[in-house]
Amino acid sequence: MTDAVMTDVQTPDQMRRDRAARASDAVRRSLKKRYAAEARFRAYGIGAVGIAMAFIVVLFATIISSGLPAFTQSAITLNVELKQDVIDPEGTRDQSTLINANYRKLVFDTLLAEFPDVTSRRDKRALTAILSSGAAFQVQQLVTSDPSLIGQTVELSLPVAADFDLYNKGVINKGTAESDRRVSNQQMAWFDTLKERGIVESELNTTFFTNADSREPELAGILGAAMGSLLTMLVTLALSFPIGVCAAVYLEEFAPKNRLTQIIEVNINNLAAVPSIVFGLLGLAVFINFFGLPRSAPLVGGMVLALMTLPTIIIASRAALKAVPPSIREAALGLGASRMQVVTHHVLPLAMPGIMTGTIIGMAQALGETAPLLMIGMVAFIVDIPGGITDPATVLPVQVYLWADSPERAFVARTSAAIMVLLTFLIFMNALAVLLRKKFERRW
């Protein structure tokens, strides 16, 4: 009887084995599902990364393809006779005479000489429109820097006006109705003739890197904005780095943990979330209207951006300070270092790479900031390259904004080119941050 029951019910040993087998089966069944889920998850991840990368590729491709033309500039090679009677009829070689001479006439006459059959005033004007107004300026510079050239004939490569540059690049073409484009059929014919004679060539647009803004696209350059950005960033760095690091060190190392410091902490985090244009308004109201600081100046721009960058630096610095192991602090304290010495000798140097990384990221953010600078007048059209922090200036992103807003067709390419310059700076800064982090990363 008992034996029969035993075989029916299974021995405990059998039961255990049975249960193990069933569990193993269940695991095997669920495995497939789990692997499938894992594969799906990986696919989502790859998909997400792929989409992000695709956007970046499209963005860069668009910017680069539309910006590249701006780096070349069409020029006409002409043999200009620097006539004594036009430049300096009295032969005084006086500097003001040299500066104020009618170089336009010189240049235009040279071009007109290429087309002896053009006689009417209107046609002459239309023909000379091919040359940029910068051509005369170029000759002026040449003569004033070397007056001994007067009387000689020099071969000069003179920039053409932006519209003809675009025609040369194929952006403006005969496909558009004549009334809808800024280059007439007649002008196109003249330009083609010049090309046939082999005196039109495309050269590197150095003007773009050496000039400030201009109404004429072919004379507009990025250097003014780049200088403005540099000066603004210097002011921002000089203000936000020491203030930010001091605040972070105090809050992290010295401040008592009470309600007040908690409120301060929350508000610093809030500050990081304040829209940047609000900082611009604050700068306008306080720095310019109340303190009477100059408008459009890198000084004020830098101050406003410093306000904006401060929370980033403080938060990053505090994280970096927090990451320094307490054992280092204890070691120094145990040796009898004062709290100040603990911070300056040990904690701060160890946190510095993190602080630098945070600062660079904050600065990169500030470099790309436009809105607050619009409020304080850094959106002005400025032809001079700023020489100091109180000179009127604009910055790279604002220059992009200004050019994007310009009606001239040629500014389209220059806008993209300016974006490329800006992105180059940003990528460089971010790379620097990564490099610093890699180089000084420490393990305890």
């Binding site: 280092i328 009898g336 270092a337």
Partner: protein, 274 residues
């Protein structure tokens, strides 16, 4: 050293007692209470620490032995919510009074921590740091000498004399801990506090540190917190047993381990709890 057996104990009890009076008291603490916020961590601890002796503090985790140790050089100051009450005198001066500056106190009472914590600097800089900030040594030669002496005393010199410029963090765990001891010695303290100095080390490194502690006894007063009763028995002359924030029993190490007076001490050293 260190093996405590009955025969030894019986013989030395009487002479030790008389020696008690002759020994100089370094730390004299009475009614020490420590609070972490609302929680009381130490209840009325009365303990004397004698000069040129190793005093071991033992007890189960959370019994307050480390807390007591850290009141001696005011390392508890760094914890915001920590309050200390009672009398803690170093050579007759209350360490919590205005008469003693905390920086000066820590120069006199050095500390070695549980986990070796060398600065992420060179071996040389690790040791030179203390003398330099205190102005004990100024010239390069003087500091060189202190570095060498400290490393010799910490029996690390032979191993590192050719690579003083290498980072201290590159040494092995045991070497790092000896470096930390050398660093503490370099400031020429009177007392060295050790908070479980061997708990992160392997047995061989532990044995070296224990040997070292025994040698250091000639020049320094040492207070050591340890979880290992064997270690307490091996290195210390006096042992204090803490339990739940109370100082249960204190006495000659031999006596504590052989004839404890309190049932709780008895239970702990026989491994019934802890």
């Amino acid at each position: 050293m260190g093996e405590v057996d009955m025969s030894n104990k019986v013989e030395v009890t009487a002479p030790m007692a008389s020696a008690d009076a002759a020994r100089e008291t370094k730390f004299h603490t009475r009614g020490v209470q420590v609070f972490y916020g609302e929680k009381q961590a130490l209840f009325d601890v009365d303990l004397d620490i004698y000069e040129n002796e190793v005093t071991a503090l033992i007890g189960p985790s959370g019994c307050g032995k480390s807390t007591y140790l850290r009141t001696l050089n005011r390392m508890n100051d760094t914890i915001d919510i920590c309050r200390v009450k009672g009398k803690i005198e170093l050579d007759g001066t209350d360490v919590y009074s205005d008469k003693i500056d905390v920086v000066h106190l820590r120069a006199r009472v050095g500390m070695v921590f549980q986990k070796p914590n060398p600065f992420p600097k060179s071996i040389y800089e690790n040791i030179a740091y203390g003398p330099r900030i205190h102005g004990i040594a100024t010239g390069k030669e003087e500091i060189d000498q202190i570095v060498e002496e400290s490393l010799i005393k910490a029996s690390l010199w032979e191993e590192v004399k050719d690579r003083l410029d290498e980072p201290g963090t590159g040494l092995s765990g045991g070497q790092q801990q000896r470096l930390c001891i050398a660093r503490a010695i370099a400031v020429q303290p009177e007392v060295i506090l050790m908070d479980e100095p061997c708990s992160a080390l392997d047995p061989i490194a532990t044995a070296r540190i224990e040997e070292l502690i025994d040698e250091l006894r000639d020049n320094f007063t040492i207070v050591i917190v340890t979880h290992s009763m064997q270690q307490a028995a091996r290195v210390s002359q006096r042992t204090a047993f803490f339990h739940l924030g109370d100082l249960v029993e204190v006495g000659e190490t031999g006596k504590i381990f052989t004839t404890p007076q309190d049932q709780r001490t008895q239970d702990y050293i026989t491994g019934r709890f802890g």
